[in-house]
């Protein structure tokens, strides 16, 4: 049985080696994978569904599926691709479920911009020369602009620019051609540039 030594630095072990070790019975290998990807996954899911608790829940569900179906992982593409595929499918299911229930996706936006009297004050995204935006405000505006993108551009942009996956990985996660990925990312950036005039 291959056991990964606790002293071995986490960054030095490839994902595929960890999956192989886990399949041979090393539970600690699975633990390392969770530690390595938990933040990225929660962040990714939170960007898509705007519900932190649900994002944590879905990220956990993604790891549970990895735990139970690791023997189905073929190794022909990266482990992260497989993990993001699972997470993306979970997010899409959740988004469809919420759409059916008629829930809107202003969750975080509503919380962020809710005033004391309960009314909402959505930010003015237009440029104001006398107002210099700090980084937090810029990030907030970028998030609002990303949220307003059509779904197909939003997924591609978040995976490429926020999660920093390669075009090839995104192509496999979303099951679309490489050319389509590039085209969607390009379109997303042009749309965002228009929405963030004066902010960038």
């Amino acid at each position: 049985m291959t056991e990964i030594a606790l002293s071995q630095p986490l960054s030095g072990i490839a994902d595929n080696a960890l999956i192989s070790a886990y399949l041979k019975g090393d539970e600690y290998a699975f633990e390392i994978l969770v530690t390595r990807y938990q933040n990225k996954l929660v962040n990714y899911l939170n960007r898509l569904i705007h519900d932190y608790e649900m994002a944590v829940d879905l990220a956990q569900e993604a790891f549970i599926r990895v735990y139970r179906n690791a023997n189905r992982y073929k190794g022909e593409y990266q482990f992260s691709t497989w993990l993001y595929r699972i997470a993306t499918n979970l997010a899409i299911d959740e988004m469809r479920r919420r759409e059916r229930k008629g829930r809107f996706f202003f969750y975080n936006v509503k919380e962020r911009f809710q005033q004391d009297d309960g009314t909402r004050c959505l930010p003015d995204l237009r440029y104001s020369p006398e107002k210099s935006l700090d980084r937090t405000e810029k990030l907030e505006r970028l998030q609002v602009a990303i949220d307003s993108l059509p779904e197909k551009y939003r997924f591609a942009f978040i995976l490429k620019e926020v999660q920093e996956l390669s075009y090839q990985e995104i192509s496999k996660v979303l099951r679309i051609s490489l050319g389509t990925v590039k085209s969607r990312v390009h379109r997303a950036k042009i749309l965002l540039r228009g929405k963030l005039s004066g902010v960038l």
Binding site: K40, K182, V185
Partner: protein
């Protein structure tokens, strides 16, 4: 290199081979220079966005708790295979039934002619509801698509609904 080409290259990440050409264009094009700077800023902010949300500190232990609390459910182990088996069985039976009904040969009745008439009664008619009533039989010659002929012996009280098509007619429905 045109502005459109530069825009495409900048949004899809510059390769080493394209770097020199794009830089030369940017130096002489204010619009593309602005685009380049804005896309760089967008990239930096996006990467920061990827670091702003952290998972809870007990994330890993919660995953393990869920794994121990929710071992593969009974639904997955027992009921789902049973459900799938039932569905497959029902589908197969339905498919065979439809296929069987489609295989029934459509028989064309050409000029049904009374070949023989006879009155019968008694035990021969026990399968009818009114055995006391004498019933005549009519033999109808049926010609099938493969030039075969069938003789169908029917009680004369049968009601035959026909549709005329080119002087032939089809036996559509028969009932006592």
């Amino acid at each position: 290199m045109t502005c459109k080409q530069v825009e495409r290259i900048l949004t899809e990440n510059i390769s080493a081979a394209e770097e020199a050409g794009v830089q030369a264009h940017i130096r002489n094009c204010r619009g593309c220079d602005k685009l380049s700077r804005e896309l760089q800023s967008m990239g930096k902010l996006s990467r920061l966005l990827g670091e702003t949300v952290q998972s809870p500190s007990d994330f890993s232990s919660r995953v393990h708790r869920r794994l121990s609390e929710d071992p593969v459910s009974r639904w997955q182990v027992y009921w789902r295979p049973a459900f799938v088996f039932t569905l497959v069985t029902l589908f197969s039976v339905g498919f065979l039934w439809v296929r069987e009904s489609q295989m029934t040969e459509e028989v064309m009745v050409s000029s049904p002619s009374v070949v023989q008439e006879e009155s019968v009664s008694g035990d021969d008619l026990q399968r009818l509801d009114a055995p006391e009533v004498p019933v005549s039989y009519v033999d109808v010659i049926l010609s099938g698509p493969s030039e075969s002929e069938y003789i169908l012996r029917l009680p004369s009280r049968i009601r035959i609904q026909t549709t005329h098509v080119n002087h032939d007619f089809y036996l559509e429905h028969a009932s006592y």
